[in-house]
């Protein structure tokens, strides 16, 4: 009776979490490289089916990768060129627009607190409006405004490195299998089958996660567009897409998306707070749909780990590597879990180790036959 293929248990969890944390810390030191690589992986999983189709139709892999990369570049340029004047205007007015929306948010908080004080006398006695209003103002002036400036600066510094993403994606599409073959060729025969199984699990984890994420983004965009359009929020499709993209950040992403749309609604409709409350309702409903239907159908079971280490990893990711850490934590933990499980399975299997030792002995005997040892 052989041991299970994959090792599991608390030791494997701890090792997975420790290795993932180290990788997240390392990646936080090289975000200029990690972020484009992450985007490249997403692009790779988006474009791989097209390359595969071309290969089947008889085009060789190198040409197929080149054709797809060229097609995507032409498409991106065709989409971006008409948008450039608008984007330039938006980026110039970006900071001013954000402060306007923050002011809109403060107005909404003021009005809500006023209404609450008018309704409940104990809040009036506590001077609730003035105290909470002061806290909100402090938060807005001292924290958010500084953070917005910092975040915009960091985003601007990253933009050139994002151009690396299409290059990485192209090489993954063209040479992905070459990398796998090169890795497999370095693996001893005794561990070969375990290793190809590990490759399959790593690929399946990353593919299911990122393709699931893309499907979830499309679904969320459609649901939020319909909801926000029904509520009457302007430019619903754009806001829905931004909120759906922000939801890539586990746990906090959808909250940030909701707050963003709330601020915009509060600024655009300063006299009608019910639109803001309805916006929150739309996001809450979309979140429920996500949790009960869409996430299980898309990202769902791609990360084959217990929920406890998964949640812990999300928080550790956020702590050690910020927003990229939050996004990376889950797929990275899934991949590391596959590798640790396989290596653990090999380490715990004495027969495999004995086979490897025997193969090495055969090799040694062969290469030293003329030494008369």
């Amino acid at each position: 009776m052989r041991l299970p293929y994959l090792a599991s248990g608390p030791l494997v969890w701890l090792t997975t979490m420790a290795i993932t944390t180290v990788l997240l810390v390392a990646s936080s030191k090289a975000l200029w490289l990690v972020v484009p690589f992450l985007l490249a992986i997403i692009l790779y999983y988006m474009l791989y089916p097209v390359v595969r189709r071309l290969v089947l139709s008889g085009v060789n892999r190198e040409t197929a990768a080149l054709l797809v990369a060229a097609g995507v570049t032409i498409l991106a340029v065709a989409v971006m060129v008409p948008l450039l004047p608008w984007l330039a205007a938006q980026s110039l007015a970006g900071e001013e627009t954000m402060y306007r929306y923050l002011a809109g948010g403060r107005t909404l908080i003021d009005r809500t607190l006023e209404t609450l004080e008018a309704q409940f006398s104990f809040l009036r006695r506590l001077n609730f409006h003035a105290e909470m209003g002061k806290m909100a103002a402090d938060f807005g002036d001292n924290f958010l405004q500084k953070k917005i400036g910092e975040t915009l600066l960091k985003a601007a510094a990253w933009l050139p490195s994002l151009l690396l993403a299409p290059f990485f994606a192209f090489f993954l599409l063209r040479d992905g299998r070459v990398f796998v073959d090169a890795l497999a060729s370095g693996v001893p025969n005794a561990f070969f089958e375990r290793t190809i199984y590990m490759f399959h699990r790593v690929d399946a984890t990353a593919r299911n996660y990122f393709q699931g994420l893309l499907k979830l983004t499309v679904i969320d965009t459609v649901v939020l567009t319909i909801g926000l359009w029904l509520v009457g929020v302007p430019t619903a499709p754009v806001l829905a897409l931004i909120a759906a993209l922000l939801a890539w950040i586990p746990v906090v992403g959808s909250v940030i998306g909701c707050v963003l749309v709330m601020l915009i609604a509060a600024t655009e409709f300063p006299t009608d707070p019910w639109i803001v409350y309805a916006t929150v309702g739309v996001f809450a409903f979309a979140r429920l749909l996500d949790n009960f239907f869409f996430i299980p159908l898309t990202v769902g079971r791609s990360i084959q780990m217990h929920p406890l280490p998964v949640v812990l990893m999300v928080f550790i990711g956020g702590t050690v590597a910020g927003v990229p850490g939050l996004i990376l934590a889950l797929p990275l933990a899934g991949v590391v879990s596959a590798v640790v499980g396989t290596v653990g399975g090999i380490v715990q299997d004495p027969r495999l180790r004995a086979r490897h030792a025997y193969a090495k002995a055969l090799q040694k005997e062969r290469v030293s036959v003329d030494f008369g040892l």
Binding site: R2, V59, N60, N189, I196, R355, L362
Partner: protein, 159 residues
């Protein structure tokens, strides 16, 4: 339509080699190229174990050169029950049902094997169904031949 992109290249030696194998005999040149990109080439020394009885099978192997022997433990003695020459395949049940290996396979002499992983075959079924069905048909034929050979051996055995 994309014919102009299909470079007329000299067939690689490995494609020429796998074309000769029964398992891939019905595949066309483009299909052989797809299969060639999925095969892992492994080299084994005489006596080295390819897989053990009871292992979870992850790949089918084709003998490109050399020979392998199939061993079974009978009454605590390991006995060679068959030898597989170059051009033949083994470990095919792993591709069909992922069942544990039913015997040990070792290299009878230095040999080169081509391995097709179960995961790649599964992907092939989804993405290149035509190629996968041709391989599956050849696998079924091969299993049929092996089964017939076993019946013939059993029938010719003296009672």
């Amino acid at each position: 339509m994309l014919g102009f992109l299909q470079r007329r290249r000299a067939e690689s030696p490995r494609i020429a080699q796998i074309r000769q194998l029964g398992l891939f005999a019905t595949l066309g040149p483009k299909e052989l190229r797809v299969i060639d990109s999925l095969l892992y080439e492994r080299r084994y020394l005489k006596g080295e174990v390819v897989f053990d009885d009871g292992d979870e099978g992850q790949a089918l192997y084709v003998v490109l050169s050399g020979r392998v022997m199939v061993c079974k433990e009978i009454n605590t003695v390991t006995t060679v029950v068959a030898e597989i020459p170059a051009g033949a395949l083994f470990g095919e049940l792993a591709l069909l049902d992922g069942a544990p290996r039913t015997a040990q396979v070792r290299a009878a002499e230095d040999c080169v094997l081509a391995a097709l992983s179960r995961a790649d075959f599964g992907n092939l079924l989804e993405t290149h169904a035509r190629i996968a069905s041709k391989i599956a048909l050849q696998l079924a034929r091969d299993l049929g031949h092996k089964l017939t050979a076993r019946f013939v051996t059993a029938e010719s055995r003296p009672l």
